[in-house]
Symmetry: C2
Subunit: 352 residues, 2 copies
């Protein structure tokens, strides 16, 4: 268990009494006579030989390293995404370089260059800037949840449009007559813009009047929500809407609190459906913050890795959409759930 001097393939070759090339073959699983294979394996064990990643990388120009470029891991959505990506890579013997660019375009570009310098085999990006513009054509990359002009780069995302429809349909199913949509969006376009399209489509389909708050994200979210709320109050104090489709669970949760502060009961007076499927404490056996259109984050992550790797050997679809699903989170009037809490079993992920 000591790593005193770090033995090399040359040492192994000498110890085993074979040539360098033979050792290389054994290490890389290339057929070799049984006799020599055993000699080499014994020598490797005896010397605690470990492949030197740098020497190998220098020759092969492969690293088994993938850079994940995301804004941060404080946000539970990104955090879980990172975890699933890590797992998907680990299964394949690959490693994850974590790059948190805080959503700052310049930092995203810096990281991109750093990753390329470090000879990563590929990049999975959830960025605000159009990273495609800074990547050599053909360099393996997958973009998650974002939409850019450059159609060349493969993208993976949830079916946000279907999610927007589903949110409306669920609200209608649970008895809503007037679902509104609330959104604070980034200045950069993204796949999630389709949630709005889905909402609008569903409104049209079911003969509803679209009604929404859709502004650029800012620090005055509460003020804007309050104004929206006030605009929708009848003279008698009642509301002119009874359902909310929030662009994200977080927005839904903010609105939930505001409504509660104003004395409205959730879900009795107003039902809320968010988007993402964020669990409290990041624990999938916990409650959701709000009823939600849940993104299949684990499958999305798996897909990202799959497509990243596949593009080395084949052409991959330029857009892959995975289906979303509605899940109860306490803010909807589901039949059989009179506002009661969810599961009782409390399994925890490793906790601090």
């Amino acid at each position: 268990m000591t790593f005193q001097k770090a033995s090399t393939m040359k040492d192994v070759a000498k110890e085993a009494g074979v040539a360098l090339g033979t050792v290389s073959k054994v290490i890389n699983g290339i057929p070799v006579s049984e006799k020599n294979k055993i000699k080499v394996e014994n020598a490797i064990a005896a010397l605690h030989y470990e492949v030197n990643t740098y020497a190998r990388g220098l020759k092969t120009q492969k690293s088994n390293l993938v850079a994940l470029l995301i804004p941060n891991t404080h946000n539970p959505f990104f955090a879980s995404f990172a975890d699933y990506i890590e797992g998907a890579l680990y299964k394949r013997g690959m490693k994850l370089l974590l790059c948190c660019a805080d959503g700052i375009p310049q930092k995203e570009i810096d990281y991109l260059n750093m990753a390329i310098n470090n000879k990563v085999d590929g990049i999975i990006a959830l960025t605000y800037s159009d990273v495609g513009k800074y990547i050599a054509p053909g360099f393996p990359i997958v973009v998650f949840d974002r939409f850019f002009e450059n159609q060349v780069i493969p993208r993976v995302a949830s079916d946000n449009f279907a999610g927007g429809c589903l949110a409306v349909e669920k609200l209608l199913e649970f008895g809503c007559k007037h679902p509104v949509y609330i959104r604070f969006h980034s200045v950069f376009p993204g796949e999630s813009d389709k949630r709005r399209d889905g909402y609008l489509y569903a409104c049209n389909k079911y003969g509803l009047e679209p009604d929404f708050l859709d502004v650029v994200d800012c620090d005055e979210k509460l003020t804007l929500m309050k104004e929206f709320l006030d605009r929708h109050k009848n003279p008698d104090g009642s509301l002119r809407f009874d359902g909310v489709f929030a662009h994200t669970d977080y927005h839904g949760y903010l609105f939930l609190r505001l409504l509660q502060q104003e004395g409205f009961r959730i879900p009795q007076d107003v039902q809320i459906i968010g988007f993402d499927g964020i669990y409290k404490f990041g624990n999938e056996n916990e409650e959701l913050f709000v009823s939600s259109i849940c993104q299949p984050l684990e499958q999305l992550s798996e897909k990202c890795v799959e497509i990243l790797i596949a593009q080395n050997t084949q052409t991959v679809p330029s857009l892959t959409l995975l289906p979303v699903e509605y899940r109860y989170g306490g803010t909807t009037k589901e039949s059989g759930r009179p506002g009661s809490g969810p599961s009782q079993g409390v399994k925890t992920r490793s906790s601090s």
Copy 2:
């Protein structure tokens, strides 16, 4: 912006009309005549030269890579820790290899070896197994929040003992007469065990009878809590405790819900203080889940990186404790806060 053929130092030397060694000096910031410096810089720019990490690593045996070995990033505590570590490394021009071992000892050891094989410059570990046993003496490593026999490895943690005391003192300050302690612990020892010691010490100091639920973590947390609760009910249905110090915010939150389900009001009937300082949606401008003894996670992360790097050149303290602080999270009766919510400004981290 094309990376056609990836030029080398030799190309740069030729282009600039200088020797290889001169190019190397310019790249590594070693003094060179102004004239040559300019020639080389121009050539580098002209050829879009980028250092090859593998060639460099092969010579220097340095990678500027640090492995972070944690259970996962779903848990917001670990997720934020990872983010801060990433930031602290980025500031120093270093990169983060993210290793999520799910708290499985064998996986932790596997990752450890992988990291060493990949010639990381150091490891920051938040593990369950005693990784020190699998590391060559002298290999740069910092252990966060864990306590192992092997005193040789530098450890960083919050002052858990002081935190345990502080929790009791705060509960007393807010009017509690009988604070209990709730904990579901790992089978592995850790620095956080000191929270219990702090609780006991404070009980003794203030003449209180210690009273706690302290069992190994399992899936029956709710059942055990319910039993604990029932054991502490008076014949009239009132409780024999009025304050709870929960080992983590999560445990505090579970107990909070249970108490609420049983009809107790928080904080009027029972006050709760957790530990960690977990924000909803990982957003530090959001609410805490419960009032909490907060770990200074950003400073802790910075300290980990600092100590990891320092040990290359100097002896570092074997244990570094950082102070914790109490923060209001809605589950305590603070003067001036009659159960009202916290801040109104809603700044968000980059959100999906």
